[in-house]
Symmetry: C2
Subunit: 251 residues, 2 copies
DNA sequence: TGAATAGTGTCTATAAGACAATATCCC
DNA sequence: GGGATATTGTCTTATAGACACTATTCA
């Protein structure tokens, strides 16, 4: 890491810094990676672009930020309008501002990610012409980072619009990083779930198998789970107990 | 976490989502928390506002994003112009977009944090009328989060402008969260340093004492450090070996 | 020589991984 | 009863915290 201090800023630098209010203003949008997990893979909702630019490519649902709404509210609105979902887990991810990321004009995108369980998913976003639930393929391990691929149900790659490949890569990296210390695994499951299903979700996010015993101990010790007393039924083997998120999450 | 699916979006929702290009565009700025550590406390560079709004209050150095620069470039420019620093560690933090955060007009701020060692600091930003190095007081433990206070050299609180108290709080929280798994502690130290100085930095960031033995073991095992063979001099006690960042950081 | 901190070695407590044994359901 | 997975218990291993001890420099 070089530390070249004391480069003398030019007059132009000063002008650029102080007169920026006169600059042309960029458009600001939010793009939401709505993520779920099923059958061992992460899934994401994509929208086919019907207009130029990038017509025919697949994009994250997004929209421009209205004058009187906060960024969080804009993201919630996008979810409500495009996926018909409200009240889901939603968190800001990163802001993408390369001047050339949108060929039309300068568009700065504040990316969000949202997590839902597969059941809610099925109600909200069936596969249609314009809307598709794509499977994510992560070509890197751990928290290396980098773009990820989206595949259709026949395992064909979907061409993503703009820099949405990067946004999805960042989302997966964030998920992997937060999973161990933040209570986010549950968000991909229905209100009640067995420990095995929770482990499935963790393994899907991390892209690697986990030790069953250690996983049980960690989860139960975390204080984030609460036994319901109920059990699975009709499963062809000993039924597992169902858990839910503890009211006082953590200690 | 409620999961109220299926609220039918109104026509107005659709229009808001799709006609947003016609919206008035917000201004987009970057604000940089330039952070250092010395004498057991985190320090941050603040600029006194000479204009309304919030005249007389202290703000993070910032500037509007120019049409042809990326967000990272804008943050680098702000550092070069206001602190005369280039090549320092710089990373995007979070984007603040409350519609009322700036009373003039809608300003969305992409916040960054930068890390420098105290020596570079002293060269770059002496205390002047307009520029001040403030001491940060963190009124919460661990990664709880929340606003932090800035104090002047006489320990008097400095009134911060806009939501910069929140931005600083987010910066401290991010630092605490990343410290254990990302190589960022070195960024607050000169190119060569002893393990004790590194521990000082970690304790300052975390706001709590660390176990000396365990800290040594972890740091040396991380593979991020490289012994220089040199030692301290004239220290009135056994001189410690100096280390630097390993060329191949981590494995 | 003594003050002060660097660096090493050992013991203990805690958490993760491995493995075995038992429990419980449906067929 | 047999298949299949849940759940519990024990053992081993890695890591963090605690503490004692030695090493080295300058005053």
């Amino acid at each position: 890491m070089p530390r070249d201090a004391d480069r003398a800023p030019t007059e132009a630098d000063y002008l650029a810094a102080y007169d920026a209010e006169a600059f042309e203003r960029p458009s600001v949008a939010v793009d939401v990676a709505l993520i779920s997990a099923s059958e061992g893979a992460l899934r994401v909702l994509l929208v086919e672009r019907s207009e130029h630019p990038q017509r025919g490519r697949w994009a994250l649902p997004g929209g421009f930020v209205a004058p009187n709404e906060s960024l969080d509210e804009a993201a919630e609105r996008v979810l409500a309008v495009k996926a018909r979902l409200t009240g889901v887990f939603l968190e800001q991810l990163y802001t993408f501002g390369d001047p050339t990321r949108d060929p039309r004009t300068r568009v700065i995108s504040v990316a969000y990610y949202a997590l839902v369980d597969a059941a809610t998913w099925d109600r909200a976003a069936r596969d249609t012409e314009k809307l598709r639930v794509a499977r994510l393929v992560v070509p890197w391990e751990g928290e290396t980072g980098g773009p990820v691929e989206a595949r259709d149900p026949d395992d064909r790659p979907l061409a993503l619009a703009f820099d949405h490949e990067q946004i999805l890569g960042m989302a997966v990296r964030r998920l992997r990083g937060k999973l161990d210390y933040a209570p986010i695994g549950f968000q991909l499951l229905p209100p009640q779930f067995t420990l095995r299903r929770l482990q499935d979700v963790h393994e899907t996010i991390l892209g690697r198998p986990l030790n069953k015993d250690s996983f049980r101990r960690r989860m139960l010790a975390s204080g984030n789970l609460e036994a319901t007393g109920e059990r699975e039924e009709c499963v062809g083997h000993r039924p597992a107990e169902r858990y839910r998120i503890a009211r006082r999450s953590a200690v």
